[in-house]
C-alpha cells in the first residue's frame, strides 16, 4: 500500500475533489433552506434558489422602481471605482515608500520604524479622525482603503527590497550604476512581480475596508447595499451580492497572477510567488 503522502489524484478526480466542497455547501444550503421554508414560507434567512434568482433578476436586470437604475451595476461601478482608486493610491505609495526604505539607509532610518508602527494601526479604530480630515464623501472611502493597505504594501515592499541579495547591489555598482540606475534597472524590475503579490495579498483587506467605508456613509456601492439590505434581513439580495464580490475578488486575483506570469517569466523561474 502506497503511503498517503505519495498518492496523487488523477486529473478528473482532482477536478471532482475541487468541486466537492462547493457542492457540499450548496447541497447543505438547499437542505437547510428547504427545511426552514417548510416551516415558514416567507423565511428570509435561507431563501430558496428561486428567490435568489428573482433577486438577481431584480437587482441586475430590472431598473429600480424609484431611480430607474440597474442597482447591481450601479453598485458595482461605484465600489470598483472606490477600491480601484484606493488600491491604486496605496500601490503607488507602497512602491515609492517601500523601495526608498528598502534601498536607502537614510530613508530606512527615518521611515522604517514609523512605517512598522503605522502599519499596525487599525484604520477602523480612527474612523472619526479620518472623517473629520477627509470628509464623508468619496475621498474618505479612498482614504480608508488606502490607509488600510498602503502601509502594509509599503512595509512588504521594503522587506522584499531588503531581501534582494547585497551582492546584486554591489555588482551593479561595479558595473558603474548610480543610485538611480540601481533603482530603475536592478531594484524596480525585480519589485514589480513582488508588488503584484503584495497587492494580491492585500485585496482581501481592501474589500473589507471598502465595505466598512460604504457601511459608514454612502448612497451606493456593494457594501452599502449589503448593509442596507441587512436591515431588512433580505438575504435573497445579500447572498448574490456576497457571491458577486467573491467572483470579482477572485477574478482580480487570477488576473494579477496571470499578468505576473506573462510579464515576468523570470520570476516564476526563480521560485515565483509565495
Amino acid at each position: 500500500m502506497t503511503r498517503l503522502v505519495n498518492r496523487h489524484p488523477d486529473r478528473p478526480t482532482r477536478l471532482l475533489l475541487a468541486m466537492l466542497p462547493f457542492a457540499l455547501l450548496i447541497a447543505a444550503y438547499a437542505i437547510g433552506s428547504d427545511l426552514r421554508l417548510a416551516e415558514n414560507p416567507n423565511d428570509k434567512l435561507l431563501p430558496s434558489f428561486r428567490a435568489l434568482g428573482d433577486a438577481i433578476e431584480r437587482m441586475a436586470f430590472t431598473p429600480d422602481k424609484r431611480t430607474g437604475d440597474y442597482l447591481l451595476w450601479v453598485d458595482t461601478v461605484a465600489s470598483l471605482t472606490r477600491i480601484g482608486g484606493g488600491v491604486a493610491i496605496a500601490t503607488v505609495f507602497g512602491l515609492l515608500v517601500g523601495v526608498s526604505v528598502g534601498l536607502l539607509p537614510y530613508a530606512r532610518a527615518t521611515l522604517g520604524g514609523f512605517l512598522s508602527a503605522v502599519a499596525m494601526i487599525p484604520p477602523l479604530a480612527i474612523l472619526p479622525i479620518l472623517f473629520i480630515l477627509f470628509g464623508l464623501g468619496e475621498l474618505s472611502k479612498f482614504v480608508l482603503v488606502f490607509a488600510g493597505i498602503g502601509p502594509f504594501i509599503a512595509r512588504d515592499i521594503a522587506m522584499r527590497v531588503a531581501e534582494l541579495p547585497t551582492e546584486q547591489i554591489i555588482k551593479a555598482q561595479t558595473l558603474g550604476a548610480s543610485t538611480w540606475q540601481i533603482c530603475t534597472r536592478v531594484v524596480l524590475p525585480q519589485v514589480w512581480p513582488r508588488l503584484m503579490d503584495s497587492v494580491r495579498l492585500s485585496l482581501g483587506a481592501a474589500w473589507l475596508f471598502l465595505i466598512a467605508a460604504e457601511a459608514v456613509a454612502s448612497q451606493d456601492g456593494l457594501g452599502y447595499r449589503i448593509f442596507l439590505m441587512r436591515r431588512y434581513l433580505a438575504m435573497d439580495v445579500i447572498l448574490p451580492y456576497v457571491a458577486w464580490i467573491t467572483v470579482l475578488a477572485f477574478s482580480f486575483d487570477w488576473l494579477l497572477r496571470a499578468l505576473q506570469t506573462r510579464l515576468f517569466p523570470w520570476f516564476a523561474l526563480e521560485g515565483g510567488s509565495r
Partner: protein
C-alpha cells in the same frame, strides 16, 4: 593591469579585531589566491579591495592612488552566487554595464545603441562559451554557466582589477576544471590583476601566481587578535607543482598532492620571518611568453 599596495591594514568590528597589520605589494597582472580557514578575514579583505567596507586603519593604493570609497567599475567582482541579475537574460546581463555607462538617466539604451551594446555583449558571451545561451534567464542556466555569465558580465566594463569571492566553490569538479581554464585565459588576455578568495588549496595553487594565507596567530583570545598573513608563496607557472596540478586538474588527482600542498604551506609558515612584512617574491613579467 594595476599595482596594488596594501599598507598596514586593520579591520575591527567594535572590540573584535578581524585583520591586523596586513601589508603587501601586488605587482601588476598578478593572480593572487587568498586562502585560510573560515572566518579568517579573507572575504573581509576582498570587500575592502572592493570598497564595500572601509579599513579601520591603514590604506590600499591602486597604482599609487587611494581607493575610491565606494565600488567603482575599475574593480569587477564575481561572487559565489547572486552575481547576475535574475530578471535579465544572459545577454542583457552583460550589456547592462554598457547601458549604465552610456545612459545615465534611463539606464537603458534604445535602437541602434542598444543593438550595438547587445552585439558587444554577445561577443563577450561567445568568449566565455555561452554563445547559445544569450536569450536565457539565469535560472535557466546551470551553476557553471551562471558563473561564466558572471565573469562575462564583470568584464563588460573592462576593470583593471577583478575580485573573485569563492567563485567556483559550488561547482562540480569537472565543470570547475573547464572554468579554471577559462579564468586563466581571461586573466592572461585582459592583463587584469586578480584577487581570488578560495577554500580549495589545490585551486589556489593551480590558478595563482601567488598564494597568500591569512590566519590568527593564537587559538586563545581569538577575538582580540586579528588574522595576519601567515604565508605568502610566489609560484612560477613553470614550477613543477604547477605541472602536476594541471595533470590533477584534468583527471589524475591524487591524495598525496593535497598533503604535499599542506606541507608546503606549513613550511612557508615557518620560513616566514615576520607576519605583515612579506617580501615580493613573484614577478609575472619574467614569465611572459609562457603558457598559462
Amino acid at each position: 593591469m594595476s599595482r596594488v599596495e596594501v599598507r598596514n591594514l586593520w579591520k575591527e568590528y567594535g572590540d573584535q579585531v578581524v585583520l591586523e597589520r596586513i601589508t603587501m605589494d601586488v605587482a601588476p597582472h598578478s593572480f593572487v589566491s587568498l586562502v585560510g580557514p573560515s572566518g579568517c578575514g579573507k572575504s573581509t579583505f576582498l570587500r575592502m579591495l572592493l570598497s564595500q567596507e572601509k579599513p579601520t586603519r591603514g590604506s590600499i593604493l591602486v597604482d599609487g592612488q587611494p581607493l575610491a570609497d565606494e565600488p567603482q567599475p575599475d574593480r569587477g567582482v564575481v561572487f559565489q552566487k547572486y552575481s547576475v541579475f535574475p530578471h535579465l537574460t544572459a545577454v542583457e546581463n552583460v550589456a547592462l554595464g554598457q547601458e549604465f555607462a552610456r545612459a545615465p538617466f534611463t539606464g537603458r539604451l534604445f535602437g541602434r545603441a542598444r543593438r550595438a551594446a547587445l552585439h558587444e555583449a554577445g561577443a563577450l558571451l561567445e568568449g566565455v562559451g555561452l554563445g547559445d545561451a544569450r536569450g536565457k534567464y539565469p535560472a535557466q542556466l546551470s551553476g557553471g554557466m551562471q558563473q561564466r555569465l558572471a565573469i562575462a558580465q564583470a568584464l563588460a566594463r573592462k576593470p583593471r582589477i577583478l575580485l573573485l569571492d569563492e567563485p567556483f566553490g559550488a561547482l562540480d569538479p569537472g565543470i570547475r576544471a573547464d572554468i579554471h581554464d577559462l579564468m586563466l585565459s581571461v586573466w592572461w588576455d585582459t592583463r587584469m590583476t586578480v584577487f581570488m578568495v578560495s577554500h580549495d588549496l589545490r585551486e589556489a595553487f593551480y590558478l595563482g601566481t601567488r598564494v597568500v594565507a591569512f590566519d590568527r596567530p593564537t587559538e586563545k583570545d581569538a577575538s582580540r587578535f586579528g588574522a595576519r598573513i601567515t604565508f605568502d608563496i610566489a609560484l612560477d607557472p613553470a614550477a613543477p607543482i604547477k605541472e602536476r596540478l594541471r595533470e590533477a586538474e584534468h583527471g589524475s588527482a591524487t591524495d598525496e598532492l593535497g598533503e604535499e600542498l599542506a606541507a608546503m604551506a606549513a613550511q612557508a609558515d615557518r620560513d616566514d620571518p615576520a607576519p605583515g612584512s612579506t617580501t615580493r617574491r613573484d614577478d609575472p613579467a619574467s614569465r611572459d611568453g609562457e603558457t598559462a
